[in-house]
Protein backbone atom coordinates (compact mmCIF):
# COMPACT_ATOMS: atom_id res chain seq x y z
CA UNK A 1 0.00 0.00 0.00
CA UNK A 2 2.70 2.45 -0.97
CA UNK A 3 0.29 4.78 -2.68
CA UNK A 4 -2.02 4.87 0.28
CA UNK A 5 0.93 5.22 2.62
CA UNK A 6 2.30 8.14 0.61
CA UNK A 7 -1.09 9.74 0.52
CA UNK A 8 -1.49 9.32 4.27
CA UNK A 9 2.00 10.72 4.92
CA UNK A 10 1.23 13.71 2.64
CA UNK A 11 -2.05 14.33 4.40
CA UNK A 12 -0.34 14.17 7.79
CA UNK A 13 2.39 16.57 6.57
CA UNK A 14 -0.26 18.98 5.26
CA UNK A 15 -2.20 18.80 8.50
CA UNK A 16 0.94 19.59 10.52
CA UNK A 17 1.76 22.54 8.27
CA UNK A 18 -1.78 23.90 8.48
CA UNK A 19 -1.71 23.53 12.22
CA UNK A 20 1.57 25.45 12.45
CA UNK A 21 0.22 28.10 10.09
CA UNK A 22 -2.96 28.37 12.11
CA UNK A 23 -1.01 28.60 15.31
CA UNK A 24 1.22 31.27 13.83
CA UNK A 25 -1.77 33.26 12.53
CA UNK A 26 -3.56 32.92 15.84
CA UNK A 27 -0.43 33.92 17.65
CA UNK A 28 0.03 36.96 15.44
CA UNK A 29 -3.60 37.97 15.87
CA UNK A 30 -3.32 37.57 19.61
CA UNK A 31 -0.05 39.47 19.61
CA UNK A 32 -1.60 42.26 17.59
CA UNK A 33 -4.55 42.41 19.93
CA UNK A 34 -2.36 42.48 22.99
CA UNK A 35 -0.09 45.04 21.40
CA UNK A 36 -3.00 47.30 20.52
CA UNK A 37 -4.55 46.97 23.93
CA UNK A 38 -1.30 47.57 25.66
CA UNK A 39 -0.50 50.64 23.45
CA UNK A 40 -3.97 52.05 24.08
CA UNK A 41 -3.52 51.55 27.79
CA UNK A 42 -0.12 53.17 27.63
CA UNK A 43 -1.54 56.11 25.68
CA UNK A 44 -4.33 56.52 28.25
CA UNK A 45 -1.74 56.60 30.99
CA UNK A 46 0.20 59.38 29.16
CA UNK A 47 -2.84 61.47 28.31
CA UNK A 48 -2.67 63.48 31.50
CA UNK A 49 1.09 63.74 31.44
CA UNK A 50 1.94 64.95 27.92
CA UNK A 51 0.77 68.52 27.01
CA UNK A 52 -1.41 69.10 24.00
CA UNK A 53 0.67 71.10 21.50
CA UNK A 54 -2.13 73.68 21.13
CA UNK A 55 -2.37 74.21 24.87
CA UNK A 56 1.36 74.45 25.12
CA UNK A 57 1.44 77.13 22.41
CA UNK A 58 -1.42 79.01 24.07
CA UNK A 59 0.37 78.99 27.42
CA UNK A 60 3.53 80.22 25.74
CA UNK A 61 1.87 83.16 24.08
CA UNK A 62 -0.09 84.05 27.20
CA UNK A 63 3.29 84.73 28.74
CA UNK A 64 2.21 84.24 32.28
CA UNK A 65 5.65 85.11 33.55
CA UNK A 66 5.54 88.59 32.02
CA UNK A 67 5.77 90.31 28.67
CA UNK A 68 8.23 88.40 26.46
CA UNK A 69 9.44 89.85 23.22
CA UNK A 70 9.45 87.58 20.18
CA UNK A 71 10.83 88.43 16.79
CA UNK A 72 8.90 89.83 13.88
CA UNK A 73 9.49 91.85 10.76
CA UNK A 74 6.41 93.96 11.52
CA UNK A 75 7.55 97.40 12.62
CA UNK A 76 5.84 99.06 15.56
CA UNK A 77 5.62 99.09 19.32
CA UNK A 78 4.56 95.76 20.86
CA UNK A 79 4.28 94.13 17.44
CA UNK A 80 6.54 91.28 18.67
CA UNK A 81 4.12 90.54 21.55
CA UNK A 82 1.33 88.21 20.46
CA UNK A 83 -0.74 88.48 23.63
CA UNK A 84 -0.03 90.88 26.48
CA UNK A 85 -1.31 89.35 29.68
CA UNK A 86 -1.24 92.79 31.36
CA UNK A 87 -4.13 93.74 29.08
CA UNK A 88 -6.35 91.20 30.78
CA UNK A 89 -5.29 92.42 34.23
CA UNK A 90 -6.07 95.98 33.12
CA UNK A 91 -9.45 94.91 31.76
CA UNK A 92 -10.32 93.21 35.04
CA UNK A 93 -9.21 96.28 37.01
CA UNK A 94 -11.22 98.59 34.78
CA UNK A 95 -14.42 96.56 34.89
CA UNK A 96 -14.29 95.40 38.50
CA UNK A 97 -12.63 98.28 40.33
CA UNK A 98 -12.30 101.49 38.35
CA UNK A 99 -15.86 101.73 36.99
CA UNK A 100 -17.66 100.77 40.24
CA UNK A 101 -15.36 103.07 42.25
CA UNK A 102 -16.00 105.94 39.83
CA UNK A 103 -19.75 105.43 40.07
CA UNK A 104 -19.57 105.23 43.84
CA UNK A 105 -17.44 108.38 44.11
CA UNK A 106 -19.63 110.50 41.81
CA UNK A 107 -22.85 109.17 43.32
CA UNK A 108 -21.48 109.77 46.82
CA UNK A 109 -20.53 113.36 46.04
CA UNK A 110 -23.98 114.06 44.60
CA UNK A 111 -25.60 112.48 47.66
CA UNK A 112 -23.45 114.57 50.02
CA UNK A 113 -24.31 117.76 48.13
CA UNK A 114 -28.02 116.89 48.24
CA UNK A 115 -27.78 116.17 51.99
CA UNK A 116 -25.91 119.42 52.62
CA UNK A 117 -28.49 121.36 50.66
CA UNK A 118 -31.35 119.74 52.56
CA UNK A 119 -29.78 120.81 55.84
CA UNK A 120 -28.37 124.26 54.97
CA UNK A 121 -30.67 125.31 52.09
CA UNK A 122 -27.88 127.43 50.60
CA UNK A 123 -26.05 130.36 52.15
CA UNK A 124 -28.07 133.62 51.78
CA UNK A 125 -26.45 137.02 51.29
CA UNK A 126 -25.95 138.43 54.79
CA UNK A 127 -28.00 141.61 55.13
CA UNK A 128 -29.69 141.03 51.76
CA UNK A 129 -28.95 142.89 48.51
CA UNK A 130 -27.32 146.25 49.16
CA UNK A 131 -28.08 147.80 45.78
CA UNK A 132 -24.36 148.54 45.39
CA UNK A 133 -22.07 146.50 43.21
CA UNK A 134 -18.48 145.56 42.53
CA UNK A 135 -17.14 144.55 39.13
CA UNK A 136 -15.65 141.08 39.59
CA UNK A 137 -14.99 139.47 36.20
CA UNK A 138 -14.54 141.20 32.80
CA UNK A 139 -16.01 139.74 29.60
CA UNK A 140 -12.89 137.86 28.61
CA UNK A 141 -12.73 135.96 31.93
CA UNK A 142 -16.38 135.00 31.75
CA UNK A 143 -16.13 133.91 28.12
CA UNK A 144 -13.08 131.85 29.02
CA UNK A 145 -14.83 130.30 32.03
CA UNK A 146 -17.95 129.31 30.11
CA UNK A 147 -15.94 128.07 27.14
CA UNK A 148 -13.95 125.75 29.38
CA UNK A 149 -17.13 124.78 31.26
CA UNK A 150 -18.95 123.88 28.01
CA UNK A 151 -16.02 121.85 26.70
CA UNK A 152 -15.55 120.18 30.09
CA UNK A 153 -19.21 119.16 30.38
CA UNK A 154 -19.14 117.72 26.85
CA UNK A 155 -15.95 115.80 27.61
CA UNK A 156 -17.36 114.59 30.93
CA UNK A 157 -20.56 113.24 29.36
CA UNK A 158 -18.79 111.54 26.44
CA UNK A 159 -16.03 110.27 28.74
CA UNK A 160 -18.52 108.74 31.17
CA UNK A 161 -20.33 107.07 28.25
CA UNK A 162 -17.04 105.54 27.14
CA UNK A 163 -16.07 104.57 30.69
CA UNK A 164 -19.25 103.03 32.00
CA UNK A 165 -21.53 102.80 28.99
CA UNK A 166 -21.03 99.11 28.34
CA UNK A 167 -22.06 98.36 31.89
CA UNK A 168 -24.88 100.88 32.31
CA UNK A 169 -26.23 101.83 28.88
CA UNK A 170 -26.28 98.57 26.91
CA UNK A 171 -29.00 97.08 29.14
CA UNK A 172 -31.07 100.24 28.59
CA UNK A 173 -30.53 101.21 24.94
CA UNK A 174 -29.26 97.97 23.44
CA UNK A 175 -26.12 97.06 21.55
CA UNK A 176 -26.68 98.86 18.26
CA UNK A 177 -27.70 102.21 19.75
CA UNK A 178 -24.84 102.03 22.20
CA UNK A 179 -22.47 101.23 19.33
CA UNK A 180 -23.42 104.45 17.57
CA UNK A 181 -23.37 106.39 20.85
CA UNK A 182 -19.93 105.09 21.76
CA UNK A 183 -18.58 105.86 18.30
CA UNK A 184 -19.98 109.39 18.45
CA UNK A 185 -18.63 109.86 21.99
CA UNK A 186 -15.18 108.69 20.98
CA UNK A 187 -15.03 111.02 17.98
CA UNK A 188 -16.39 113.97 19.96
CA UNK A 189 -14.14 113.30 22.94
CA UNK A 190 -11.03 113.15 20.75
CA UNK A 191 -12.06 116.29 18.90
CA UNK A 192 -12.82 118.46 21.94
CA UNK A 193 -9.98 117.11 24.13
CA UNK A 194 -7.28 119.37 22.67
CA UNK A 195 -9.59 122.38 23.10
CA UNK A 196 -9.70 121.63 26.84
CA UNK A 197 -5.89 121.89 26.92
CA UNK A 198 -6.14 125.36 25.38
CA UNK A 199 -8.83 126.18 27.94
CA UNK A 200 -6.80 125.27 31.01
CA UNK A 201 -3.84 127.13 29.54
CA UNK A 202 -6.09 130.19 29.26
CA UNK A 203 -7.35 129.76 32.84
CA UNK A 204 -3.79 129.48 34.05
CA UNK A 205 -2.74 132.69 32.31
CA UNK A 206 -5.78 134.70 33.38
CA UNK A 207 -6.16 133.58 36.99
CA UNK A 208 -2.79 132.47 38.36
CA UNK A 209 -1.92 135.89 39.80
CA UNK A 210 -4.91 135.71 42.16
CA UNK A 211 -4.40 132.10 43.22
CA UNK A 212 -1.20 132.14 45.25
CA UNK A 213 -1.37 131.37 48.96
CA UNK A 214 -2.10 134.48 51.02
CA UNK A 215 -2.48 135.25 54.70
CA UNK A 216 -5.79 134.01 56.04
CA UNK A 217 -6.06 131.17 53.54
CA UNK A 218 -5.02 128.45 55.99
CA UNK A 219 -7.46 129.88 58.55
CA UNK A 220 -10.20 129.76 55.93
CA UNK A 221 -9.39 126.12 55.32
CA UNK A 222 -9.31 125.22 59.03
CA UNK A 223 -12.73 126.80 59.50
CA UNK A 224 -14.12 124.84 56.54
CA UNK A 225 -14.85 128.06 54.70
CA UNK A 226 -17.60 128.87 57.21
CA UNK A 227 -19.87 126.41 55.47
CA UNK A 228 -20.72 124.41 58.53
CA UNK A 229 -20.84 126.87 61.43
CA UNK A 230 -19.71 130.24 62.65
CA UNK A 231 -18.77 133.47 60.92
CA UNK A 232 -17.50 133.39 57.37
CA UNK A 233 -13.67 133.40 57.52
CA UNK A 234 -11.68 136.18 55.92
CA UNK A 235 -10.76 135.91 52.24
CA UNK A 236 -9.30 137.96 49.38
CA UNK A 237 -10.41 137.99 45.73
CA UNK A 238 -10.39 134.17 45.74
CA UNK A 239 -10.86 132.17 48.94
CA UNK A 240 -8.87 129.05 49.74
CA UNK A 241 -11.59 126.77 48.38
CA UNK A 242 -11.47 128.53 45.03
CA UNK A 243 -7.67 128.40 45.03
CA UNK A 244 -7.71 124.65 45.69
CA UNK A 245 -10.19 124.21 42.84
CA UNK A 246 -8.04 126.35 40.55
CA UNK A 247 -4.89 124.31 41.23
CA UNK A 248 -6.85 121.04 41.00
CA UNK A 249 -8.12 122.07 37.57
CA UNK A 250 -4.62 123.03 36.44
CA UNK A 251 -2.73 120.03 37.88
CA UNK A 252 -5.32 117.31 37.28
CA UNK A 253 -6.21 118.98 33.99
CA UNK A 254 -2.59 118.68 32.89
CA UNK A 255 -2.52 115.00 33.89
CA UNK A 256 -5.74 114.38 31.96
CA UNK A 257 -4.39 116.34 29.00
CA UNK A 258 -1.05 114.52 28.91
CA UNK A 259 -2.63 111.08 29.27
CA UNK A 260 -5.29 112.04 26.74
CA UNK A 261 -2.64 112.99 24.19
CA UNK A 262 -0.85 109.67 24.83
CA UNK A 263 -4.11 107.87 24.10
CA UNK A 264 -5.21 109.98 21.16
CA UNK A 265 -1.91 109.92 19.28
CA UNK A 266 -0.56 106.37 19.72
CA UNK A 267 2.36 106.80 17.34
CA UNK A 268 5.06 108.36 19.50
CA UNK A 269 6.53 105.08 20.70
CA UNK A 270 4.26 104.56 23.72
CA UNK A 271 3.74 100.90 24.60
CA UNK A 272 0.42 99.24 25.32
CA UNK A 273 1.27 99.15 29.05
CA UNK A 274 1.86 102.91 29.09
CA UNK A 275 -1.44 103.44 27.30
CA UNK A 276 -3.27 101.22 29.80
CA UNK A 277 -1.72 103.18 32.68
CA UNK A 278 -2.61 106.43 30.91
CA UNK A 279 -6.20 105.33 30.59
CA UNK A 280 -6.39 104.60 34.32
CA UNK A 281 -4.83 107.96 35.23
CA UNK A 282 -7.08 109.69 32.69
CA UNK A 283 -10.17 108.07 34.18
CA UNK A 284 -9.21 108.68 37.82
CA UNK A 285 -8.28 112.31 37.10
CA UNK A 286 -11.49 112.88 35.17
CA UNK A 287 -13.62 111.44 37.97
CA UNK A 288 -11.85 113.69 40.50
CA UNK A 289 -12.48 116.74 38.31
CA UNK A 290 -16.09 115.81 37.62
CA UNK A 291 -16.68 115.31 41.35
CA UNK A 292 -15.02 118.67 42.04
CA UNK A 293 -17.13 120.26 39.31
CA UNK A 294 -20.30 119.02 41.04
CA UNK A 295 -19.22 120.91 44.17
CA UNK A 296 -18.13 123.94 42.14
CA UNK A 297 -21.46 124.10 40.32
CA UNK A 298 -23.42 123.74 43.56
CA UNK A 299 -21.48 126.44 45.40
CA UNK A 300 -21.68 128.72 42.37
CA UNK A 301 -25.45 128.40 42.07
CA UNK A 302 -27.85 127.15 44.77
CA UNK A 303 -25.21 126.69 47.46
CA UNK A 304 -24.25 130.33 47.77
CA UNK A 305 -26.82 132.93 46.81
CA UNK A 306 -25.47 135.73 44.60
CA UNK A 307 -22.38 133.86 43.39
CA UNK A 308 -23.64 133.11 39.90
CA UNK A 309 -23.96 136.84 39.10
CA UNK A 310 -20.19 137.16 39.04
CA UNK A 311 -20.01 134.82 36.06
CA UNK A 312 -23.18 135.95 34.26
CA UNK A 313 -23.21 139.75 34.55
CA UNK A 314 -19.68 140.14 35.90
CA UNK A 315 -20.96 142.19 38.88
CA UNK A 316 -21.60 141.10 42.49
CA UNK A 317 -23.53 142.71 45.29
CA UNK A 318 -21.39 144.59 47.82
CA UNK A 319 -22.88 142.64 50.74
CA UNK A 320 -22.06 139.36 49.02
CA UNK A 321 -18.48 140.53 48.53
CA UNK A 322 -18.20 141.67 52.18
CA UNK A 323 -19.54 138.30 53.34
CA UNK A 324 -17.42 135.98 51.20
CA UNK A 325 -14.42 138.06 50.12
CA UNK A 326 -14.13 140.70 52.82
CA UNK A 327 -10.53 141.70 52.12
CA UNK A 328 -11.22 142.19 48.42
CA UNK A 329 -14.41 144.14 49.22
CA UNK A 330 -12.47 146.39 51.60
CA UNK A 331 -9.85 147.03 48.90
CA UNK A 332 -12.52 147.97 46.37
CA UNK A 333 -14.24 150.29 48.83
CA UNK A 334 -10.93 151.92 49.69
CA UNK A 335 -10.24 152.43 45.96
CA UNK A 336 -13.71 153.89 45.40
CA UNK A 337 -14.72 151.09 43.03
CA UNK A 338 -18.23 150.61 44.42
CA UNK A 339 -20.88 151.09 41.72
CA UNK A 340 -24.45 152.20 42.09
CA UNK A 341 -27.38 150.32 40.59
CA UNK A 342 -27.79 152.92 37.84
CA UNK A 343 -24.10 152.74 36.93
CA UNK A 344 -24.31 148.97 36.56
CA UNK A 345 -27.57 149.27 34.63
CA UNK A 346 -25.98 151.73 32.22
CA UNK A 347 -22.99 149.44 31.74
CA UNK A 348 -25.41 146.60 31.05
CA UNK A 349 -27.34 148.64 28.51
CA UNK A 350 -30.40 148.85 30.76
CA UNK A 351 -32.25 151.88 32.11
CA UNK A 352 -32.21 152.45 35.86
CA UNK A 353 -35.56 150.72 36.00
CA UNK A 354 -33.99 147.61 34.58
CA UNK A 355 -35.62 147.91 31.17
CA UNK A 356 -34.41 149.18 27.84
CA UNK A 357 -36.22 152.39 26.89
CA UNK A 358 -38.26 152.10 23.72
CA UNK A 359 -36.76 154.13 20.86
CA UNK A 360 -38.82 157.16 19.88
CA UNK A 361 -39.29 157.39 16.13
CA UNK A 362 -39.96 160.83 14.74
CA UNK A 363 -43.39 161.21 13.24
CA UNK A 364 -44.97 158.36 15.13
CA UNK A 365 -47.45 159.12 17.82
Amino acid sequence: MPVSTDSARYTAWLERRCAVLLQLTLGMVLLACFSTLSFAAEENDLAGKVKDPGTQLWNEVRQREGVLQGTTQVAGMDSAVLINVDGERWRQFRMQQLIPAAGLALGGILALIALFHLIKRGVPVAGGPSGKYLHRFPDIDRILHWSVATIFIFLAITGLILLGGRLLLIPVVGDSVFGALASASKEGHNLFGPLFILGIFGLFIRFISKNFLASGDIGWLLKGGGFFAGKHPTAGFFNMGEKIWFWAVIVIGLVISATGLILEFPFFGQTRSIMALSLVLHGVGAVLLIGGAFGHIYVGTAGMKGSLDSMTTGYVDLNWARQHHDRWAAECEANDEVLSQSEVARAQGRSTLGEVPEPVIKGES
Binding site: R142, S147, V177, A180, S183, S185, G188, R350
Partner: protein, 212 residues
Protein backbone atom coordinates in the same frame (compact mmCIF):
# COMPACT_ATOMS: atom_id res chain seq x y z
CA UNK B 1 -37.05 107.46 8.34
CA UNK B 2 -33.63 107.09 6.72
CA UNK B 3 -35.21 106.94 3.25
CA UNK B 4 -37.30 110.04 4.01
CA UNK B 5 -34.31 112.05 5.21
CA UNK B 6 -32.09 110.90 2.35
CA UNK B 7 -34.84 111.36 -0.21
CA UNK B 8 -37.87 113.68 -0.08
CA UNK B 9 -36.69 115.84 2.81
CA UNK B 10 -33.33 116.40 1.14
CA UNK B 11 -34.94 117.55 -2.11
CA UNK B 12 -37.40 119.74 -0.21
CA UNK B 13 -34.60 121.35 1.82
CA UNK B 14 -32.50 121.87 -1.30
CA UNK B 15 -35.43 123.50 -3.10
CA UNK B 16 -36.25 125.79 -0.18
CA UNK B 17 -32.60 126.74 0.12
CA UNK B 18 -32.06 127.56 -3.57
CA UNK B 19 -35.41 129.27 -4.16
CA UNK B 20 -35.21 131.09 -0.82
CA UNK B 21 -31.69 132.41 -1.41
CA UNK B 22 -32.54 133.56 -4.98
CA UNK B 23 -35.72 135.20 -3.74
CA UNK B 24 -33.93 137.04 -0.92
CA UNK B 25 -31.10 138.27 -3.12
CA UNK B 26 -33.35 139.33 -5.95
CA UNK B 27 -35.68 141.11 -3.53
CA UNK B 28 -32.68 143.12 -2.33
CA UNK B 29 -31.51 143.95 -5.86
CA UNK B 30 -34.94 144.81 -7.20
CA UNK B 31 -36.03 146.91 -4.23
CA UNK B 32 -34.58 149.98 -5.88
CA UNK B 33 -33.60 153.25 -4.27
CA UNK B 34 -34.29 156.91 -4.73
CA UNK B 35 -32.18 158.50 -7.44
CA UNK B 36 -29.25 160.48 -6.04
CA UNK B 37 -29.04 163.83 -7.82
CA UNK B 38 -26.03 165.11 -5.94
CA UNK B 39 -22.75 165.64 -7.75
CA UNK B 40 -20.55 162.58 -7.10
CA UNK B 41 -17.30 163.36 -5.26
CA UNK B 42 -15.60 160.20 -6.51
CA UNK B 43 -16.35 157.28 -8.82
CA UNK B 44 -18.40 154.81 -6.86
CA UNK B 45 -16.88 151.63 -8.39
CA UNK B 46 -13.51 152.10 -6.73
CA UNK B 47 -15.15 152.64 -3.36
CA UNK B 48 -17.28 149.54 -3.85
CA UNK B 49 -14.35 147.28 -4.66
CA UNK B 50 -12.11 148.75 -1.98
CA UNK B 51 -14.71 148.42 0.75
CA UNK B 52 -15.30 144.74 -0.02
CA UNK B 53 -11.68 144.09 0.95
CA UNK B 54 -10.95 146.75 3.56
CA UNK B 55 -13.82 145.52 5.74
CA UNK B 56 -11.94 142.25 6.24
CA UNK B 57 -9.75 144.16 8.67
CA UNK B 58 -11.28 146.08 11.58
CA UNK B 59 -10.68 149.81 11.71
CA UNK B 60 -7.66 150.76 13.76
CA UNK B 61 -9.68 152.72 16.33
CA UNK B 62 -12.14 149.83 16.73
CA UNK B 63 -9.69 146.91 16.67
CA UNK B 64 -8.72 146.84 20.37
CA UNK B 65 -12.39 146.84 21.41
CA UNK B 66 -13.41 143.95 19.15
CA UNK B 67 -10.34 141.76 19.37
CA UNK B 68 -12.30 138.74 20.68
CA UNK B 69 -14.91 138.97 17.93
CA UNK B 70 -12.26 139.45 15.24
CA UNK B 71 -10.12 136.47 16.25
CA UNK B 72 -13.07 134.18 17.02
CA UNK B 73 -14.87 135.31 13.88
CA UNK B 74 -11.96 134.38 11.64
CA UNK B 75 -11.46 131.08 13.49
CA UNK B 76 -15.08 130.12 12.97
CA UNK B 77 -15.57 131.29 9.41
CA UNK B 78 -12.29 129.92 8.02
CA UNK B 79 -12.80 126.63 9.88
CA UNK B 80 -16.36 126.30 8.63
CA UNK B 81 -15.36 127.19 5.06
CA UNK B 82 -12.65 124.51 5.10
CA UNK B 83 -15.01 121.93 6.57
CA UNK B 84 -17.81 122.69 4.16
CA UNK B 85 -15.76 122.54 0.97
CA UNK B 86 -12.73 120.41 1.74
CA UNK B 87 -13.81 117.72 4.23
CA UNK B 88 -13.44 114.36 2.48
CA UNK B 89 -17.07 113.21 3.03
CA UNK B 90 -18.34 116.57 1.75
CA UNK B 91 -16.17 116.44 -1.37
CA UNK B 92 -17.45 112.93 -2.09
CA UNK B 93 -21.04 114.05 -1.53
CA UNK B 94 -20.67 117.08 -3.80
CA UNK B 95 -19.11 114.88 -6.50
CA UNK B 96 -21.69 112.10 -6.36
CA UNK B 97 -24.89 113.98 -5.52
CA UNK B 98 -24.55 117.62 -6.54
CA UNK B 99 -22.02 118.72 -9.16
CA UNK B 100 -20.57 115.56 -10.61
CA UNK B 101 -17.07 116.87 -10.09
CA UNK B 102 -14.81 116.62 -7.07
CA UNK B 103 -11.49 117.99 -5.91
CA UNK B 104 -8.72 116.98 -3.57
CA UNK B 105 -10.03 116.92 0.00
CA UNK B 106 -7.95 118.09 2.93
CA UNK B 107 -6.11 115.45 4.98
CA UNK B 108 -7.55 114.09 8.22
CA UNK B 109 -5.33 116.17 10.50
CA UNK B 110 -6.40 119.33 8.67
CA UNK B 111 -10.03 118.33 9.12
CA UNK B 112 -9.47 118.01 12.87
CA UNK B 113 -7.72 121.37 13.13
CA UNK B 114 -10.37 123.09 10.99
CA UNK B 115 -13.22 121.66 13.04
CA UNK B 116 -11.54 122.63 16.31
CA UNK B 117 -11.05 126.18 15.08
CA UNK B 118 -14.66 126.32 13.92
CA UNK B 119 -16.07 124.94 17.17
CA UNK B 120 -13.99 127.13 19.45
CA UNK B 121 -14.64 130.21 17.31
CA UNK B 122 -18.40 129.69 17.25
CA UNK B 123 -18.51 128.94 20.98
CA UNK B 124 -16.60 132.10 21.83
CA UNK B 125 -18.73 134.20 19.47
CA UNK B 126 -21.96 132.90 20.95
CA UNK B 127 -20.74 133.33 24.55
CA UNK B 128 -19.67 136.86 23.69
CA UNK B 129 -23.12 137.49 22.26
CA UNK B 130 -24.73 136.28 25.48
CA UNK B 131 -22.31 137.72 28.04
CA UNK B 132 -21.43 141.11 26.59
CA UNK B 133 -24.15 143.62 27.47
CA UNK B 134 -24.09 145.38 24.10
CA UNK B 135 -24.21 142.28 21.90
CA UNK B 136 -26.79 140.72 24.22
CA UNK B 137 -28.97 143.77 23.77
CA UNK B 138 -28.84 143.76 19.98
CA UNK B 139 -29.24 139.98 19.62
CA UNK B 140 -32.60 138.39 19.04
CA UNK B 141 -34.09 134.92 18.72
CA UNK B 142 -32.82 134.48 15.17
CA UNK B 143 -29.20 135.05 16.18
CA UNK B 144 -29.36 132.36 18.85
CA UNK B 145 -31.19 129.84 16.68
CA UNK B 146 -28.72 130.36 13.83
CA UNK B 147 -25.71 129.93 16.12
CA UNK B 148 -27.10 126.88 17.90
CA UNK B 149 -28.27 125.22 14.68
CA UNK B 150 -24.89 125.76 13.04
CA UNK B 151 -23.18 124.34 16.13
CA UNK B 152 -25.44 121.27 16.12
CA UNK B 153 -24.81 120.68 12.41
CA UNK B 154 -21.05 120.81 12.94
CA UNK B 155 -21.27 118.64 16.03
CA UNK B 156 -23.37 115.90 14.43
CA UNK B 157 -21.01 115.96 11.45
CA UNK B 158 -17.96 115.43 13.61
CA UNK B 159 -19.68 112.76 15.71
CA UNK B 160 -20.37 110.86 12.49
CA UNK B 161 -16.76 111.11 11.40
CA UNK B 162 -16.11 107.38 11.65
CA UNK B 163 -18.77 106.84 8.94
CA UNK B 164 -19.55 103.45 10.43
CA UNK B 165 -23.09 104.10 11.63
CA UNK B 166 -25.97 105.03 9.36
CA UNK B 167 -27.87 106.59 12.27
CA UNK B 168 -25.15 109.17 12.91
CA UNK B 169 -24.87 110.04 9.21
CA UNK B 170 -28.64 110.43 8.90
CA UNK B 171 -28.73 112.59 12.04
CA UNK B 172 -26.12 114.89 10.53
CA UNK B 173 -27.99 115.06 7.25
CA UNK B 174 -31.24 115.83 9.05
CA UNK B 175 -29.70 118.76 10.93
CA UNK B 176 -28.15 120.00 7.67
CA UNK B 177 -31.57 119.92 6.05
CA UNK B 178 -33.07 121.88 8.96
CA UNK B 179 -30.32 124.47 8.54
CA UNK B 180 -30.92 124.68 4.79
CA UNK B 181 -34.63 125.27 5.33
CA UNK B 182 -33.93 127.91 7.99
CA UNK B 183 -31.08 129.58 6.11
CA UNK B 184 -32.89 131.88 3.63
CA UNK B 185 -35.16 133.31 6.34
CA UNK B 186 -32.40 134.17 8.77
CA UNK B 187 -29.30 136.30 9.16
CA UNK B 188 -27.31 133.34 7.89
CA UNK B 189 -28.04 134.96 4.52
CA UNK B 190 -25.06 137.18 5.24
CA UNK B 191 -23.01 134.40 3.65
CA UNK B 192 -24.43 135.63 0.31
CA UNK B 193 -25.13 139.27 1.06
CA UNK B 194 -21.96 140.45 2.76
CA UNK B 195 -20.16 141.22 -0.51
CA UNK B 196 -23.01 143.17 -2.20
CA UNK B 197 -23.71 144.87 1.12
CA UNK B 198 -20.13 146.04 1.47
CA UNK B 199 -20.00 147.04 -2.19
CA UNK B 200 -23.19 149.09 -1.89
CA UNK B 201 -21.97 150.85 1.23
CA UNK B 202 -18.55 151.49 -0.34
CA UNK B 203 -20.07 152.86 -3.54
CA UNK B 204 -22.45 155.11 -1.64
CA UNK B 205 -19.73 156.45 0.65
CA UNK B 206 -17.35 157.02 -2.28
CA UNK B 207 -19.98 158.97 -4.19
CA UNK B 208 -20.59 161.16 -1.13
CA UNK B 209 -16.88 161.51 -0.40
CA UNK B 210 -17.05 159.74 2.94
CA UNK B 211 -13.80 158.13 4.03
CA UNK B 212 -15.08 155.06 5.85
Amino acid sequence: MTEFIDGPLWYFALTVFIVGVIWRISSIFFTGKKPDYSVPRQASTGGAVATVFTRFIPRRDMAPKIRIQTVAGYMFHLGLFALLLFAAPHVAFIEHHLLGIGWTPMPYWAFIVASQLAFLGLLILWLHRVLNPVTRLISDFDDHVAAILTFVVMLTGCLALMEGFTGLRVLHRFTVELLMIYFPFSRLMHAFTFIPSRAFTGAWFARRGVDA
